[in-house]
């Protein structure tokens, strides 16, 4: 007899079976632990019966990683406490089930700042963002989630609790490097190694001020040149151009935001770059330098807007969010036809960004499929690259193009999954990036921590 409630009513269970990728999951039951000790009990019970457990956050995953392949779904939404916000040492300790944006707001209200900012922060949980090593537009300056994770409490498949802390020592030669900080093993592990029940994250001082902006360009190439110029500028000493975000909108993405845009998007603009920059002193000097820099790099300067007011800054971010949410909705219309949204998340070293985009466009032209929508984290060499397939036939063609692109990406020193992970729908691409033996080694780690393969089965492997 178990002491936790096992919800088996399929009317309820079914509505928890898929995620934002629309991957068709299924499960026998749903459990909703309220504490670490309940998670322990659930895992012990499941492990003893070899029942699969898929931990879920808010199921905003775009890779099917939160769509269970059988067994029980472990919903973390009841574990919502912020246990501590420590001003002196600048950290917060929290359970996984709070909406990330609510968590960040609480931190901000305390005068501190939690940097990771996935576009889906209003749709994903704090815990989900840890389990996927989420990143966002401000990753350009701040890096991804993993940089901020100081310690984790994880419940393993056996029900054992691991308390892991990132070592603070500066030198260490004991063990294989990827194992030296065990925290990193679990961040981004997509539910496959353990259930994250508490996370301690580093906080920063709230940035004094920032401004947002959007610059427009007559060609996509000019926008990409601009991004390279920004990266070069950052290497200079004492640069004044220090954006924390640098995001691309191609012409299709601009068309998505045009009807809703509170500012003029010039008709001749075929690309836009959304940027944000923090500053403490001399706003005017910084803007003067931006103006000079934009002019030199062929931006349409008279239409480059600057958002100084919080409301405008929010509006800009809302517009940025509108691109993936519109594509997601549009893709959803064709799922029943065997189509849908096909997104990839490759990234390449920034200096090869023109090359890969040219290649990707060329092969989609050759395959005579519609052009992809390219937008997002271009500053990190990481554009989102989305197609909408109207039916199964189109999907097949698009997937061929996507495979060729991903192959090419890996030959350029890039990755096939800069964000969102592998989940269940990107497994076909895995082979391009790492040697077979290393994938086997990763699988061996998974099996040694979860011998019955009960945790998030079919994710990654």
């Amino acid at each position: 007899m178990c002491s936790f409630e096992l919800i088996t009513d399929q009317d309820i269970v079914k509505s928890y079976c898929t995620d934002s990728s629309n991957y068709p999951g299924y499960a026998d039951a749903l459990v909703r632990p309220e504490s670490t000790s309940e998670v322990v009990e659930i895992l012990k019970e499941a492990n003893s019966k070899k029942i699969s457990i898929t931990p879920i956050g808010n199921r905003s995953s775009l890779t099917g990683s939160a769509a269970a392949d059988g067994g029980w779904i472990l919903d973390t939404s009841q574990m919502t406490k912020i246990i501590e916000i420590n001003h002196k040492e600048k950290f917060a300790l929290a359970e996984p089930g709070m909406m990330l944006s609510d968590f960040k707001k609480k931190i901000l209200d305390e005068g501190l700042f939690y940097a990771p900012d996935p576009t889906s922060e209003k749709e994903c949980f704090f815990g989900g963002s840890i389990a996927t090593n989420a990143s966002g537009s401000r990753t350009f300056k701040y890096g991804s989630t993993k940089k901020y994770v100081r310690a984790l409490e994880v419940v393993l498949a056996s029900g054992e609790i691991l308390n892991l802390r990132r070592p603070e020592i500066e030198k260490n030669t004991f063990g294989y490097l990827p194992f030296q900080s065990m925290v990193d093993l679990f961040v981004g592990s997509e539910g496959t190694l353990g259930v994250i029940t508490k996370t301690e994250v580093e906080l920063l001082d709230k940035p004094e001020n920032f401004f947002g902006g959007m610059a427009f360009f007559k060609t996509l190439n000019e926008a990409l040149d601009f991004v390279i110029a920004v990266r070069k500028e950052l290497l200079k000493s004492g640069p004044l151009i220090t954006p924390r975000a640098c995001e691309l909108f191609d012409n299709y993405a601009l068309d998505i935001i045009r009807p809703d845009s509170p500012f003029k998007i010039p008709q001749n603009a075929l690309a836009g770059i959304f940027f944000e920059q923090e500053y403490s002193l001399d706003f005017e000097k910084i803007l003067e330098r931006w103006l000079e820099f934009l002019e030199k790099n062929n931006a349409i300067v008279d239409d480059t807007i600057v958002a100084e007011k919080p409301k405008q800054q929010d509006e800009l971010r809302r517009l940025r969010h509108k691109v993936p949410s519109t594509l997601f909705e549009e893709g959803g219309l064709y799922v029943n036809n065997g189509g849908g949204k096909i997104s990839t998340d490759w990234s390449v070293p920034i200096f090869r960004i023109h090359e890969i985009i040219d290649y990707a466009k060329k092969i989609s032209d050759e395959a005579k499929i519609q052009e992809p929508v390219i937008y997002g984290h271009i500053g990190n060499g990481h554009p989102h690259y989305n197609f909408i397939a109207k039916n199964a036939e189109e999907k097949k063609q698009i997937l061929q193009v996507v495979h060729s692109t991903c192959k090419k990406v890996t030959t350029m020193g890039g990755t096939i999954a800069a964000e969102h992970g592998i989940g269940k729908i990107k497994k076909d691409f895995v082979k391009y990036q790492y040697p077979k033996q290393l994938i086997e080694a990763m699988r061996a780690v998974k099996i040694s921590l979860d011998p019955n393969n009960i945790l998030a089965p079919n994710n990654i492997f």
Binding site: I12, S15, S77, G213, E284, L291, T304, I305, K309, K311
Partner: protein
């Protein structure tokens, strides 16, 4: 064609307001200041009129403490041509009547065919200032205007659309007139980077408080501190709302939990 827009700086609508220990004023610490949002709609309307006419001048007129300069610069960055600023930190808490006297006085020195302002200022939730100004200058005024339908400078006439109690009133007024603006379909434009740089070079003519002859305006020094017609005697935050209860889960579960709570906890059904 000369348009004057009255502007005021107010706390951001999202700002968490704290009351000072005097119980009458707000604590400015930690507040982000913005142009009063309705004044921004007025600036947008003014700039649109200027664009339609193809010539003219948009002048901002403000009366307030030093910090207000930032709001003026933002208005200039949107595209206004110049500004006049009655500037003194002693103007932080003056009442609407005194403010309107200062503005009306200065308006006599600024050529104008049309005066626009926001329909209200959001810091003290007041719509009085522009109306006092119009009364002082004996100008026709129309309040809560959503849309400027037509400005006919040749025949000195303006036609506007004001919404009231679910109906639209189309009102015609003689110019010069004062119009207080609501949002309508306007979305205040974002400043362009070139706009911000140009704004730095635009003129802000400062008027010092000392240069104003209070007597001639029928005001005394005391009016500045205590208010000529109205005074805020007490300010408090609204009582904290009771914590809300949010039901989690899927709709059938939520509905069941809600019905149970209405029956057993709130005892209303």
């Amino acid at each position: 064609m000369k348009i004057v827009v009255l502007v005021r700086q107010t706390p951001d609508t999202e700002a968490k307001v704290k009351v000072n220990s005097d119980g009458k004023t707000i604590d400015p610490n930690g507040i982000t200041w913005i142009i009063n949002p309705y004044d921004e709609f007025a600036i947008e309307k003014a700039l649109k009129i200027k664009e339609q006419v193809g010539s003219g001048e948009v002048v901002l007129l403000a009366c307030g403490p030093t910090r207000s300069e930032e709001a003026i610069r933002q208005g200039l960055a949107m595209g206004a041509d110049r500004a006049v600023f009655i500037k003194d930190d002693k103007l932080e808490h003056i009442d609407p009547f005194v403010t309107s006297k200062f503005l009306a006085n200065e308006l006599q020195n600024i050529e104008h065919d049309l005066i626009l302002s926001g329909k209200k200022v959001i810091d003290i939730e007041s719509s009085q200032i522009p109306i006092f100004v119009a009364e002082t200058l004996k100008l026709p005024f129309v309040t809560f205007v959503m849309k400027i339908n037509e400005v006919d400078f040749g025949n000195k006439k303006i036609t506007v659309d004001r919404e009231s109690e679910g109906k639209h009133e189309i009102v015609e007024a003689k110019l010069p007139a004062l119009i207080t603006c609501d949002r309508g379909d306007d979305h205040p434009r974002y400043a362009s980077i070139t706009g911000i740089m140009k704004a730095k070079k635009k003129e802000i003519k400062e008027i010092s408080l000392d240069s104003i002859d209070l007597n001639s305006l029928g005001l005394s020094k005391e009016d500045l501190e205590k208010g000529a017609r109205t005074a805020i005697t007490n300010m408090e935050l609204p009582p904290a709302r009771k914590e809300a209860k949010i039901f989690e889960g899927e709709i059938p579960e939520k509905v069941a939990a809600l019905v149970k709570a209405l029956r057993e906890e709130a005892k209303v059904i």
